[in-house]
């Protein structure tokens, strides 16, 4: 469970060194788009050294590798040998790519006796949006991150602040994830300085059903965490609901403050408290 993932370029030593001090729930060390083609090897070495020797690693680590059809992919994947990576983020995910990833992972896992590697699928093409329910069912996939910039390039459309152009894709991600009990992660907002816009974007995604959001700058984390956390009002309500459940044992439904409380409401309250506990709110 997480609310925010922060992308940190794999070739930025100062950001990497401070990865654990940003308030993101997880860090995505990026070897793909933010790293120049001539810097790929250096970035991989830097991440490898950091993960192998670092005493101050973030509590949740994601590694975005290069796509399967690049010369860098297999070397990137080898970083799982550090045993510090919680998820591989696979760019340009589709079913073929997932199958290749699975084979490569299996080989390394068997060779080095590693636990099964979990995967976050980066869905950023029309094809992968269409395949999304199959992707979500993959045994390694534990979450799907929507990559709206590449998706819009694929569709040859412009991104807008309102985001109507990605409503369909967002909804597909949310329904595929929710129905398979994995986490849906919203696309990053590329406007770093406009905090109002970021908040609106977060609220929009959350209200559609997204459970987390990725970010490209540490200054975005505070708002993302705030929006994707249960509010004080929600926590207060959930505690009251769960307290009333104990007073109404054996009743399928009962009334609280004039409103009916039944199983879906109780489950909702439990999820809120679970999140509040997890994020120490």
């Amino acid at each position: 469970m997480f609310r925010s993932l922060l992308f940190i370029p794999g070739n930025n030593p100062s950001m990497i060194q401070n990865a654990d001090v940003f308030s993101a729930d997880g860090i995505i060390f990026d070897l793909e788009d933010s790293v120049d083609i001539y810097e790929k090897g250096n970035a991989r070495n830097l991440i490898n050294n950091y993960l192998s020797s670092g005493n101050t690693c973030p509590s949740l680590i994601v590694l975005r590798v290069n796509p399967i059809d690049t010369a860098f992919f297999e070397k990137d994947i080898e970083l799982i040998k550090t045993k510090k990576i919680d998820y591989i983020l696979l760019p340009k995910t589709n079913m073929d790519a997932l199958n290749v990833l699975d084979e490569v992972l299996l080989e390394i896992e068997n060779k080095y006796d590693l636990e099964k590697t979990k995967v976050l699928a980066l869905v950023e093409s029309a094809k992968s949006v269409i395949q999304i329910f199959k992707i979500a069912k993959n045994k390694r996939v534990e979450g799907i991150l929507l990559g709206a910039e590449d998706l819009c390039n694929d569709l040859e459309i412009d991104r807008t602040n309102i985001g109507n152009e990605i409503l369909f894709a967002r909804s597909r991600v949310i329904y595929a994830c929710t129905s398979n009990n994995i986490i849906s992660i919203d696309t990053p907002n590329t406007s770093i300085s406009d905090q109002k816009l970021l908040r609106e974007d977060c609220l929009n995604a959350k209200n559609l059903g997204m459970k987390a959001k990725s970010s490209i700058h540490p200054s975005q984390i505070e708002i993302i965490n705030e929006v994707f956390s249960p509010s004080e009002k929600e926590i207060k309500w959930a505690r009251k609901v769960l307290e009333s459940v104990e007073l109404n044992v054996g009743k399928g439904a009962f009334s609280l403050d004039g409103k009916m409380i039944d199983k879906p409401i109780i489950l909702k309250a439990e999820k809120i408290i679970q999140k509040a506990n997890k994020f120490k709110i």
Partner: protein
């Protein structure tokens, strides 16, 4: 002998004992200058050298309000070079990277001793490498004013850049083609130097509101251009975009808010570092959100403070130097944007200084040690990179002193067993805020008690020290030479540390 911050000080100098020692020492004041003749108007700096018989062994002073845009010190250096004057004592209030003409004069023995409050750039480099024949004394801003008025720093000739001068010899920095705003650091020079020469590029009939009183001015030199106003804008006066800097600044503002010091009538000052300036932004946000109005902000003034004055968030700004052109403009136009002299700002012997009225200050550090002693004078290799400026003045006088800095800077830990140079004694530092935790000086039991139950990541300074070493490993100790090139003078005139020749081979 060893002083109270455990530093070696030669026997012939008075060692620093405590920041309050000045209270038991009587203030020494020499007479202000008495001008005998009318102010004369000259056409060149050379004429002034002839008229006042400026010769070898004299002490010449300058102010630094034009910062990197100052042409006056450069032009005076050219005349000294042409006349090959020797063994001069220079006392500019600060030395900036653009003062390049000083380098040759130092290397050739024309300038052999220096008093200044801040130094950076090529002059700092050549002095650090041991090329100044005599010594460099690093003062604080308040300490320099004290040294001049007491006669400890005896100035023969003050060359004072002055954007506009009138026919009576009165001067102002408020307007003119080289406007730099307030001229606060030059007031002591004006009142106590043997001879005062204003160097200007604009002469008018009359100035209604002047900063330099013509009664102290012996001569005015009109030249084509005294400086470039754009040069007063310093890179260190811009707000940080660094995420770590922003995190520290935010945390700092939250600590200040939690401690309840951002309240109606409060006063504040921040350093000129990028992160300190981000603190200003966050404090402003808190003031707006809570409807708080402060009494004043002070120090070097930037556009951020000007904006806050215009938003009616402060009653006044007390400005000893303008850090950007918005501040210059505001100083000229806004009656609530007030100038102050260095003495009114931080002279320990002056009554009711602005520094003593500060609720809190937020300062930077190049290094800090386990006793909270701060170095803002030398880098980790011993090279001069700055100096106190007002650091030690306001750290002592303010009710609350917060130091902010990244714990690791370019793979170098901030916290040392011993800082290379003590600029500000640890007893005057209350809280250190880094991205990896907050350490309160154990002497501030009251603050520890108030912060104990907060959500802030409170740790000891030793824990921060260990944390940094976990990231970087334990760095090899940099050995500077044992050759003393100068001293750090505390604001009361005692000596808090020696400056040593940097180890050139290690750079």
């Amino acid at each position: 002998m060893i002083n109270s911050v455990k530093r070696f000080i030669p026997e012939n100098l008075r060692p620093y004992q405590s920041s309050d020692e000045y209270k038991i020492r009587k203030r020494v004041l020499i007479d202000k200058k008495q001008k005998q003749l009318k102010t004369v108007f000259l056409n060149s700096i050379e004429e002034a050298f002839d008229l006042f018989d400026i010769k070898s062994d004299m002490c010449l002073s300058f102010h630094h309000h034009l910062r990197n845009g100052d042409f006056v010190i450069q032009k005076v250096c050219e005349v000294i070079k042409n006349r090959d004057l020797k063994n001069l004592h220079f006392a500019p209030s600060s030395i900036f990277p653009s003062y390049t003409n000083m380098v040759d004069l130092i290397n050739n023995g024309n300038i052999t001793n220096i008093h200044t409050n801040y130094i950076n750039g090529p002059v700092a480099k050549t002095i650090s490498e041991g090329n100044l024949e005599g010594k460099i004394i690093m003062n604080t801003h308040g300490g320099r004013a004290r040294a001049i008025e007491s006669g400890d720093l005896k100035i023969d000739i003050a060359f004072l850049a002055c954007p506009v001068v009138d026919k009576l010899g009165n001067g102002t920095g408020s307007y003119g083609k080289s406007a730099c705003g307030t001229l606060g650091y030059a007031i002591s020079d004006l009142e106590y130097a043997d001879k005062v020469i204003l160097v200007t590029d604009t002469v008018v009939d009359k100035i209604d509101k002047y900063q330099f009183d013509g009664k102290y001015v012996d001569a005015v030199i009109q030249i084509n251009q005294i400086g470039d106003s754009k040069g007063i804008i310093s890179g260190t006066t811009k707000l940080t975009k660094d995420p770590i800097g922003l995190k520290i600044a935010k945390e700092c503002s939250m600590v200040l808010d939690y401690l309840g010091v951002i309240k109606n009538g409060f006063s504040m000052q921040t350093g000129a570092g990028k992160t300190s300036l981000a603190v200003v932004k966050y404090v402003r946000d808190i003031m707006i959100a809570k409807g708080i109005k402060g009494s004043f902000a002070s120090g070097g003034i930037t556009s951020s403070y000007v904006q806050m004055l215009e938003e009616n968030l402060f009653d006044n700004l007390y400005d000893v130097q303008c850090f950007d052109l918005e501040a210059v403009d505001s100083y000229r136009k806004n009656k609530d944007h007030l100038g102050m002299s260095a003495s009114e700002y931080g002279n320990p012997y002056e009554n009711n200084t602005i520094a003593s009225r500060l609720s809190f200050v937020v300062l930077g550090a190049a290094e800090i040690d386990l006793d909270f002693n701060v170095n803002v004078t030398t880098d980790s290799l011993g090279y001069l990179i700055g100096g106190s400026g007002g650091h030690a003045d306001i750290a002592h006088e303010s009710d609350l002193t917060v130091v902010i800095s990244p714990l690791v800077k370019s793979r170098i830990p901030l916290i040392k067993d011993e800082v290379i140079t003590v600029t500000t004694p640890g007893c005057d530092v209350d809280i250190l805020i880094t991205e990896r935790g907050i350490a309160v000086n154990p002497k501030r039991v009251d603050l520890l008690k108030r912060l104990k139950n907060s959500q802030f990541p409170l740790v000891s300074i030793k824990e921060l020290y260990d944390n940094a070493h976990q990231i970087t490993g334990v760095p090899r100790k940099i050995l500077v030479s044992d050759e003393v090139i100068g001293y750090v003078e505390y604001r009361d005139g005692s000596y808090i540390d020696c400056l040593y020749k940097a180890n050139k081979q290690k750079r």
